[in-house]
Structures are given as C-alpha cells and as structure tokens.
C-alpha cells in the first residue's frame, strides 16, 4: 500500500472577531504560510481540497470566490462541507491511487461574520428541532445532562477538563485563550445552557488552517520528513437526538474502530502516545475518552482525575489546550492534525510534551450531538 502523509502545516492566528481581514485574506495568508513551510510554490501543487460552509460564510458555494486565494486556479479541486479534517481524509484517499504527488488541504471559517447560534440552529430540520430554538450550546447541554445522569458525573468533573485544557493552552503560543482558569472560576462562570457554563464551552474563533499532503516518494525526493497517515476512520450516526443514546457517540466509536483497524492499533492507550481531540464542550472530552476506546463507559473522569491525560501523563490529551482554547469553525479538527504534527516532529515550541512521541490520534467532529466523527492515526 502506498505511503501518504503530511509534509507541511499551518494555521492562521485565532481571534474571536477578525475585523482586519476578509475571509479571502484569511485564506490567502494561511495558504502562503503553508507553502513557505513546505518550501514549495503554488505551481508545484497538484490538487487542492478545501473545507468551508455556505452558512458560515453567508455565501452560497463558499469555495467559488476563494479559488484564487487558495491557489486552486486551473487545478484539480474539490470541496467538502465538513471540518477540514474530512478534506484531509478525502485527499488521503485520492493520493492513495497514485495519480497525484501531493495535495493542498485548506479550511476556513469566519463565524464572527454571523452568529454561531444562527449557524447551528439552521443545521436543525425545520419540522422538529428548529422551532425549539435549539443551538449547538443547548444541544450539547442536553447531551451533557444525559451523560452526567447516566454515570453520576458532576459539573466539577466537566470543569476539571476546562482547567486542564486551559492550563495546557496557556503555554501554547499559537492558541486563542492563553490564560489558565481555576476550578472555582469555571464553576462561577455564567450558565449558558445548564449544565454548561461559559468556561466549559469553546470560544468563538475566526480562523483557517492548511496542510500539504504528499506521497512517500514525493516527500523523499524533496528531502521532506513525512508525518504518515496510518489510518483514517469516519462515521455518521442518527440525526434526531431523541432516537439515540446520548451518553456516548456511536459514530465516534465506529470512526475509532475503523481507524484502529487500518493502522493495526489494538490497544490505543499503549500503542498511541497522545491525542488531540475536538472537545468543543468540556464534557465531550470525557465522553470521547470512552467512545474512542481509551477507557470503559463512565470511566472518563477517572482517566482525567488520575492525570493519565495530562501533560505528564502516560496518554496526554490535547497538549495544545484543545478546542476549549481555540475553536475555529470548519478548521478545529484540522488544527488538531496540525498540533499532532508539531508534537510528532518536536516543533511544539514551549509546549512540546516531555516524553518522546511517535504516534498520535487526531479527532474531528461535525454536526450536533456528536453525530459525525473522524479519527486519524498519525505516525513518524
């Protein structure tokens, strides 16, 4: 089987409201940056796969007006309307055919141009969910309460995730929220939708991300190190939240199983060195520990409390601070990939994990109630 991996990565600065740049400029800057990282010119790129969303951009066919900015002019191109990590997956499958040497993967979202609540409410069907005013926050809150009730988890357990990730984010120079928070501060922050509070919810972030993928042959010819894609899994489960068990995520389980199978990972906690996951809400992290197969149902908080997933632990999760420190819509998952690449290549300056790392999992999700999940196993 062909070897495919990542040779360069970049993301934009993250900010809650970037009024200094249009989305076109945001995308142009990140494309330029990733090409510089790779030491390549746009003419050397074979194909571009982007990720963006019409509703976020307030523009139908959100890739139409940014073709020039992402360097896709007169190139083979496609766009997924999912997180950038799904675009990476699509690029991976295309590169496996041997038809291309490389692919630029880019994603962008300037959510502050609209309001996140409108974006998530418009993701609801018009008959059963949208009239309720359901949003990403209230959806997650309903799920959090199911999780808490089933396993006896408390607000303190959720808050502990935020404390860990904000502490880790505070040493990551690239992220948005760089200040640590205490348990007391988290629990005293305003309730958004009970039991979720401001500080257990990801911030609003404008941003873009990009990676350049290549085949092993191409990387070697150019003398570039390759962060190998060893396996990818993705899955979607039921739509209507009343129809499924919200204390876990069937699609996250299926995605992880598929990725582990391809990468021949049998015991993820032992065989992987760390993970970056898209925990847009603090409790997602606990739920995902379980769904991604790192502990049994309800044991997520034990894993956290024992320090297993902390910076010095045996299986650090979100050493970058995760989505709770920066949550660029349409790019949050691809940024997890970027963070894995930094750690794996020893370039996470200031927040490099103390232990040597060779293999990691990056996770992305899409949709309300964790309906769609994606897992990528990366290795060097």
């Amino acid at each position: 089987m062909k070897e495919v991996g990542i040779i360069a990565w970049a993301h934009s600065e993250f900010s809650p409201r970037n009024e200094g740049m249009s989305r076109n400029e945001l995308l142009y800057q990140v494309t330029k940056k990733v090409l510089e990282e790779a030491g390549m010119e746009i003419g050397q790129i074979d194909m571009v796969i982007s990720a963006s969303c019409d509703t976020v951009d307030g523009t139908s066919i959100s890739n139409a007006y940014v073709v020039d900015e992402m360097g896709a002019y007169m190139k083979e191109e496609s766009k997924v309307e999912e997180d950038g990590a799904y675009a990476l997956a699509y690029a991976y499958y295309r590169l496996l055919t041997g038809q291309y040497n490389n692919c630029l993967v880019v994603s962008h979202g300037k959510i502050s141009d609209s309001a996140p609540a409108f974006y998530t409410n418009m993701s609801c069907d018009p008959f059963l969910l949208r009239p309720l005013g359901l949003t990403g926050e209230s959806a997650a809150a309903l799920q959090a309460r199911v999780y808490a009730h089933r396993f006896g988890a408390t607000e303190e357990d959720f808050a502990a995730v935020a404390v860990k990730n904000r502490r880790l984010g505070s040493i990551n120079p690239h992220t948005q929220l760089k200040s640590p928070v205490t348990l007391e501060e988290v629990l005293a922050s305003p309730v958004v939708a009970s039991p979720l509070r401001e500080l257990t919810t990801a911030p609003v972030t404008d941003g873009a991300a990009a990676v350049i993928m290549a085949t092993g042959e191409y990387a070697r010819e150019r003398g570039k190190d390759l962060v190998r894609v060893e396996g990818i899994g993705f899955s979607q489960d039921l739509y209507y939240p009343g129809n499924k068990d919200l204390s876990t995520s069937a699609s996250a389980k299926a995605a992880a199983a598929m990725a582990y199978r391809e990468a021949q990972v049998k015991d993820p906690l032992r065989e992987l060195d760390f993970a970056e996951i898209t925990e847009q809400h603090a409790f997602y992290e606990l739920l995902l520990y379980e769904a991604l197969g790192w502990c049994g149902p309800g044991e997520g908080r034990r894993l956290l409390a024992e320090g297993v997933t902390d910076r010095e632990g045996e299986f650090p999760v979100n050493p970058s601070g995760g989505a709770l420190c920066a949550n660029p819509v349409m790019s949050a998952g691809l940024v997890r990939v970027v963070e894995c690449c930094r750690q794996l290549t020893g370039t996470a300056e200031g927040y490099q994990l103390p232990k040597p790392v060779r293999r990691a999992l990056a996770h992305a999700c899409s949709g309300l109630f964790l309906q769609s999940n994606l897992a990528i196993i990366l290795g060097i």
């Binding site: 066919i61 139409a64 039921l238």
Partner: protein, 387 residues
C-alpha cells in the same frame, strides 16, 4: 496503482415539483432505486459521498446530517461534498476515488436538491456572488450567463438562434426521457423565438426549469463488480478543474478550465480524438448557449466552432457525436442532482440501458458538470470495456 472502478447501479427520481416528499424522502427514493437497480442491500454499501448544493435553496445547513439515515448511512463513513452546480459530478468523483483508493469496495454517491422549497432559487443563487463586491448587482444565475452569452455570440458572429437551436434539439430529445421535466411536444425554433426575453440575450426557451430531484450512483471495485452485474460502466477517468472567479483576463466564452479538465480526462482515458472516440456526450447545459461553449471546451470542435457544430447536426441524436440525448439540464435542473444526471446518463448509455433515448452501440461516453461562478467543471468518462 489505483483499483479499477465501475458503476454498477443507478437510481434517479423524476425531475418535477415534489410536494409529496420531504428532503430526506426525496434522497431516499433515489437511493432505493439505485439499490434495486443492482440488487444490493443497505449493508453492502461501505461508505457514502453525499452531495447537496447551496444551503440557501432549502434553508437547511448540513442537510447530510438530517438526510444521512434516509440513504442508509447509519454508523457508516459519510462526508458531504459541495461545489455548487458541479456537486453531483464532484460527489460521483469522490465516490470513485474512495473506491479507487483500495480502502472501500462499494460506495454510494448521492446528490439532490429541492429547488421548489424556496420561492425563488435565484435569491439563493444571488448569494453566490461575493458579499462585498458583487451581490449588490446580482440577479441570480441568468445575469451572469447572459454576459457569457453576449460575449460568445458577438465574438464569433453567432446570434440568439444558435442558442435556441440547442433548446429545440434538447427539448425534442427530452420527449424520450421519462425523468425529464420539460417534455413539450412540437417544440420548434419559431416557438422558441417567441418566448419572452428574460435577460438579454437569453429568452425563456434558453433556460432550464426549476426541479426537485435526486440521483444516486453506486461504484464498485473491480473484484466486486462481476458478482453484482454483468453490465457495468467502467470509469475511465474522473476529473474536476477550476477557474478563478476574478482572474485577470478571464473570458467566460472560452472555458480554459473545462479545456484543461478535458485534456486530463482524455489523457487518463487514453483518448486522442474525442470527436471520433466518444460515442455520446452529456453536458450541463443549464442555459442553451452554454452547450455550444462546452463543445469547444471539450474539444469536440475548435474554439469558436461550437455554433457551426450545432448547425451541422453532428450533435443531434442521429449525428456522429450526439450531445444530451436525455434532453440535458435544459429540460431538468435541480442543480444538486444535475451534474450527476449527466454522469448517470453517460453510464446508462454505456450500459445500453438509456431506454428510448439510447444511442446505438455506445462504447465510450462522457458526462460533464458545470458550477460555481462559471468556473467549475467536472468530467467523467465511462467505457464498456474494462480499462
């Protein structure tokens, strides 16, 4: 080396206004018909590439989440592709590559739209225009294509009649296609000339209708094909190429993106003389005049010769290079499914299953898609013989 891939099943819904089915219901109909077409079951599908055009058509963001289980994507890999009018083509191409990668054996491509869910698809289409530089004067798709048409007609000494000739050809072809929306008997050039002018130089006759429709194609890896069908359509190439929207010196009447896509597609399919080696072509003619321009992009003739190719009769059903025997997008346009209909029609021609509008003896067929700001092009070429 890429796995060889064939189309083994196709499901289409009729193009019309659909007040009887919800959006998931419409997708489900195409999905079920595709399964029935090749005798597969839901559990035989490994992954789904899901297509849907701008969200401002139905007002539902991420419709793949709502519609996934209706197309059997329950705890299955699914991602959504969205490239505007080309989406049906981009989704088929995505499904092709998923199988060609060797990681999936049977993949469903499905795409559609319910354009009647909004009171005017053109309001949605106006949001394609850039919000800072363009939306202020946007009037949907016709205003852009009218500019393209004027440029084309004046540059090569053609006139409105050349577009209307396409309309007459395709509307008459559509009479043989039960899935087409506009099936108007005795459609004549004289009648077309008398339709109202909507956006100069485009008349009502030059424009596609508003349809609700979905289309599904099932792609299978070589080692699975034989057990599913003895009549597959092999994928010879699958290409999508972009032009930039604001590129300096851009000429809408000269689709260099399509030309590049065609050259790549022909090279990968081993085709040197497309006019001779292709037996039938389905192009995305949302507006009549575009068919002439796409002839040129596809190298069926030289730049500027599209109108004369039309006049020669070569692209009629009985000509040497029939184009749009199905009636094309000009007779049925849901946008979301249209570019896939072009691919599916081409595949059906190769299978010899196109029904009344079957062209005899087809061995190679091309399906095209157009989208974005007159900038995206998709091409798939299918063959009767395994590549």
């Amino acid at each position: 080396m890429a796995t060889k891939v064939a189309v083994v099943g196709i499901g289409m819904t009729e193009n019309k206004s659909r007040w009887d089915l919800s959006l998931p219901g419409l997708y489900r109909l195409a999905y079920q018909r595709a399964l029935e077409d090749c005798g597969l079951k839901s559990e035989d599908i490994d992954a789904v590439a899901f297509g849907h055009s701008p969200e401002y058509f139905e007002g539902v963001n991420h419709p793949e989440k709502w519609c996934g289980e209706a197309v059997g994507a329950l705890n299955k890999p699914l991602f959504r592709v969205h490239t505007g009018g080309t989406v049906g083509g981009s989704v088929a191409i995505a499904a092709y590559y998923l199988v060609a990668s060797g990681k999936f054996e049977v993949v469903l491509a499905i795409s559609g739209n319910k354009l009647n869910e909004t009171s005017s698809a053109q309001i949605g289409l106006s949001t394609v225009y850039d919000p800072i530089m363009g939306r202020q004067f946007a009037a949907g798709a016709p205003s852009a294509v009218a500019v393209q048409a004027s440029k084309y007609y004046s540059q090569y000494g053609y006139n409105e009649d050349h577009g209307l000739m396409v309309a007459v050809k395709n509307r008459n072809n559509a009479l043989k296609n039960p899935y087409a929306q506009l099936r108007i008997p005795d459609y004549t050039l004289e009648g077309a000339r008398n339709t109202p002018m909507l956006c100069h130089p485009l008349r009502l006759a030059d424009m596609c209708p508003t349809s609700d429709a979905a289309c599904a194609m099932i792609f299978a890896a070589e080692h699975r094909v034989e057990a599913i069908t003895d009549n597959p359509a092999w994928v010879l190439s699958a290409v999508a190429v972009n032009e930039g929207i604001n590129y300096v010196d851009r000429d809408w009447s000269k689709p260099i993106g399509l030309r590049k896509a065609a050259e790549l597609a022909y090279e990968r399919a081993g085709i040197k003389d497309p006019r001779r080696e292709l037996d039938v072509v389905e192009v995305y003619d949302a507006f009549s005049v575009q068919e002439l321009i796409w002839y040129e992009g596809l190298k069926l003739c030289d730049w500027g010769e599209g109108g004369r190719l039309m006049e020669s009769g070569a692209t009629r059903m009985e000509g040497d290079i029939p184009v749009n025997p199905s009636g094309g997008t000009l007779c049925a346009n849901s946008i979301g499914a249209s570019a896939m209909f072009r691919k599916a029609e081409a595949a059906l021609q190769v299978m010899g299953r196109a029904g009344e509008h079957q062209i005899p003896g087809v061995r190679r067929a091309l399906g095209h898609g157009w989208g974005g700001g007159i900038q995206f092009h998709t091409i798939m070429i299918f063959g009767k013989d395994k590549p």
